[in-house]
Each structure stands twice: as C-alpha cells, then as structure tokens.
C-alpha cells in the first residue's frame, strides 16, 4: 500500500533551487577573479600538501583567462542574492522548526559513521533514517557553517579597512582570501557527493525536492 507524505516545505525547495545557480555563478565568477592571482597552496613550511596551480593554457581553454573585471562585477552583484537567499533559509529553518531535522544531535556522530560504512557497502544493516540521516544532518549543517564562513571571509576581503578587525581575525588579508577560496573547493566537494547520493537514492527522493512529497510503500 502506498501513501503520499509531506517531505520538503515549499520554502525550503525554493531556497534550495535558487541557491544552486547562485552558488554556481559565485564559484564561476570567483574563478575569473582567482585567475589573476592563483596562489592558494596548502602546506607547512616548504612542504606542499595541495596546490591549485593550473596552467595558463588551461585557463584560456576553459575561457577563464583575462576576465578579472567581469568576474568582480558579477561577484559583487550576485553576492547580495546569494547572501540574502542563505540568510532567509536560515531564518526559515529556525522559525518553522525545520532545524530540528537538520541539526546534528548527540547520536549523529556515531550514526554518521554507520551511514558512511553502509554507503560504502562495508556494513549491511541500514542506519536509522529519519527525514535526514545523521550524515545528512552533519553535512547540511556544515554547509551552512561554510556559508557563514564564505560571508565573513568575503566581507574581510571586500572591505578590509572597514572590517579590519575581521580581516585580522582571519589572520590577515591573504589568509582571508585563502579561506574564502578553500571553502568554495569544499562546496564543489559537497556538490559531487550530494549529487552522487541523490542519484543513488533514486527518483522518489529527488522528486520530493520538486513536488515536496514522497511516496511511501507499506507491506
């Protein structure tokens, strides 16, 4: 027997789908800016762990080169929409009580390991699945913390005199840029895993992000 259950409120669906193109434009225009000074290396002293050095030719092939001015004008336009959408989403989850499904609780850390092991086919029994499982709670909360990080590091870069204290807290102007960049790499990582999980979970789940309701089948 089937039933139709409410899953995602209309507001959350809009926030989610509006955020997607906005984040894409922010990340892409960010790359146009990044091209002018691509220096963000992760390492200790002389040991480099991870570097994002891309050859000039690659930039040119990807049509990302010599577009700094364009990148800045887009970034400083869409930043408003991106930030406002994110802030409204957070306000909505607080006011509506949706935060209860989204914030990790004290069980989440242990359960998230079970989810990961299950997804990697290392563990048979499915983990407890409420509206969101523990791994989802942690990642959907982490993405909001990252959003806050983008906003604050962004302010520290955009107005380093006016928000000099913030720039200082992030360890100076180059460090604020460093964090701003690597948070975005984190979004890309989130995106890849997120889309993979959505594909794996199937149509019923994906459709729920559009129509808000999910079909449940009972025996």
């Amino acid at each position: 027997m089937k039933d139709l259950e409410h899953k995602h409120p209309l507001a959350i669906r809009w926030f989610h789908w509006i955020n997607f193109p906005l984040l894409a434009v922010m990340a892409w225009s960010g790359l146009l800016i990044y091209w002018a000074n691509p220096i963000y290396r992760i390492g200790f002293g002389n040991r480099t762990l991870l570097k994002m050095t891309v050859a000039q030719k690659t930039y040119e092939k990807a049509n990302l080169a010599f577009r700094l001015a364009e990148g800045l004008s887009l970034h400083f336009f869409f930043m408003w929409l991106f930030a406002i959408n994110g802030i409204l989403y957070v306000i909505y989850t607080i006011v509506s009580g949706e935060w209860r499904y989204l914030l990790p609780d004290r069980h989440s850390w242990r359960e998230a390991i079970q989810v990961t092991l299950h997804d990697l086919h290392l563990r048979k029994e499915p983990p407890p699945q409420a509206k969101y499982n523990a791994a989802q709670r942690i990642s959907y909360t982490a993405i909001i913390v990252m959003g806050l990080g983008s906003l604050l590091t962004g302010l520290a870069i955009y107005k380093p005199v006016q928000f000099g204290w913030l720039t200082f807290l992030f360890g100076g102007y180059p460090m604020a840029r460093f964090f701003h960049f690597w948070i975005t790499v984190g979004y890309v990582f989130f995106f890849v895993v997120h889309v993979g999980q959505v594909i794996k979970t199937g149509w019923n789940n994906f459709r729920a992000m559009i129509i808000g309701r999910e079909v449940r089948t009972y025996d």
Partner: protein, 270 residues
C-alpha cells in the same frame, strides 16, 4: 514526516480478501494520480523558473555595455558604492603594521610612466582651487608640508597584497593650503601627459592616511614606483594609488578613471 497522508486510509473497509485487495489497488491508484498531478504542476513551475532564470542571465550578459561591463552590473557596482558611502565610516583607519612586516615592494603596472617624463622639470599642478588660478609645486614645495610615515597594506585588485612603508605628506594638508570650492565631490589625478588617470571621491582624499608619497620603504621612489611623487591611498585598491602624479584637479563631474573604463568598479573603496 509529520503530516497526515493525503489520501486517507479510512476509505479502505476490510471485507473479504478480494475486496481488501481491490480497495488497496484503488487507493494506490489514487496516490499515483495525485503524484502525477503534483509532478505535472511541480515540473511545469520548475521548467518555467529555469527558463526565466536563463532569460534573466542572457539579458544580463547581453545588456548594453557601460565602461566595458553590462550596464546592470555597472548599476550594481554603483549601488554598492552608495551603500558603502552610506553605512561605512569615512574616517576608519587602515591597520598599520610594524616595520618587521614589510614585504618586497612588487613592481606592477607601468601605465603612464613612460611618456613625457622629465624628472628635472616635473611639477605638480593643482587645478580648480577655489577662487585661484592653478598652483604649480616642485617636490621641495611638497616636502615643506609636515612629513608623515605609515606602514600599511597595499591590496591589488588582482588579489595579491604587500605591506609597504610610505613616507610623504598628507593630501589633506596640501588641500588645506590649496582648497577646492566647498562641497566639491571629486578629485581627478593624472600622470604627466595623461598616460594614467584616476578618479577619486573627495572624502577618501581627505582621509588622514591618504598621502602624496615621495619615499617607499625608506628610499626615494624609483621610476617604476612612480618617482618623484605618487599617491598612497590604503582605503582604495592599488590601481587608485596613481604613480607619478602630474595633475590634481578638483571637479564636480565624476572624473574618468583608467581602469573603470576597462570594466572595473570606479569607487574601489576598501
């Protein structure tokens, strides 16, 4: 997960097994119809929203260009400028660093340095002084103003930054002696022969950390750094720190700016 199912289960009246099966089938068919209805509606809205977003993007990209940037984005930059001017303090100081923090003074951008430069005959011309003809100053005239030192960060619009020590005089001090008419909103600065030119708002020019600098890191400016005199203005991106200033002009008209004509923001306030 908290809501009631949309198709109530009470409709299923348990009678014989066949009737039960039939009732369940009917119920499931009802659910399927409801899903199809919702999906149709949902995907039509989603499709329309996608088309609208794509249309808005195309409109934005193809809009008439103004200063080498689509005009909606130019309006965006100007709106950001108004917001900055409305909410931020114009007196806030840029952080000063200890001498140990000084980094190599990177050489970047030689626009305006090549043309019409004869160091022996260089003079600074100040135009638009209230009720007076233009003034012409030698480097010695400039150096007669109180000497100021500061170690601040120079942030390039490309993304890199350096910490440098500037020595010079406050532009505000010079402007006090050669004042603009009251409420003049803008200042234009040009290198000799107008090879490079920037537009600045009056408020940023009056900032106590805005210097006409003649030394960089304790040595007289080299020609690549804009000898004999350049602007050091830490509340703006590097491109506004014009090298080899030849002319300062007070004006009511928003002055042209070399990089703003190439698609960059005109204001560039930090």
């Amino acid at each position: 997960m908290t809501d009631e199912p949309e198709v109530p289960a009470e409709e299923i009246v348990i009678a014989g097994e066949d009737e039960l099966k039939k009732a369940i089938e009917e119920h499931d068919a009802k659910v399927d119809r409801e899903v199809r209805r919702l999906s149709r509606r949902g995907f039509i809205v989603a499709g329309a929203a996608t088309v609208a977003a794509y249309g808005a993007w195309k409109w934005l990209r193809l809009a008439k260009r103004e200063g080498d940037v689509p005009c909606p984005l130019r309006r965006g930059l100007e709106t950001n400028e108004k917001i900055s001017e409305a909410i931020f303090s114009t007196r806030r100081l840029s952080r000063e660093f200890p001498p140990s923090a000084i980094t190599n003074a990177r050489i970047n951008g030689g626009v305006g340095l090549q043309a019409n430069y004869d160091p022996d005959h260089w003079r600074l011309s100040i135009e638009g002084i209230a009720g007076h003809p233009p003034a012409s100053l030698s480097l010695a005239d400039i150096q007669s103003f109180p000497r100021r030192d500061m170690t601040t960060e120079l942030r390039c619009i490309e993304g890199w930054s350096i910490i440098v020590h500037w020595t010079g005089v406050r532009l505000a001090d010079v402007m006090a002696k050669f004042p603009p008419p009251p409420r003049t909103p803008f200042v234009a600065m040009e290198s000799p022969g107008r090879g490079y030119y920037v537009g600045l708002d009056m408020v940023s020019c009056m900032h106590p950390q805005t210097l006409l600098a003649y030394e960089l890191n304790g040595a007289p400016l080299t020609w690549q750094h804009g000898a004999p005199l350049r602007l050091a203005i830490p509340v703006k991106y590097g491109v506004k720190n014009i090298k080899r200033v030849g002319t300062i002009r007070y004006t009511d008209i928003r002055p042209a700016d070399f990089w703003a004509e190439q698609g960059y923001d005109w204001y560039l306030g930090l």
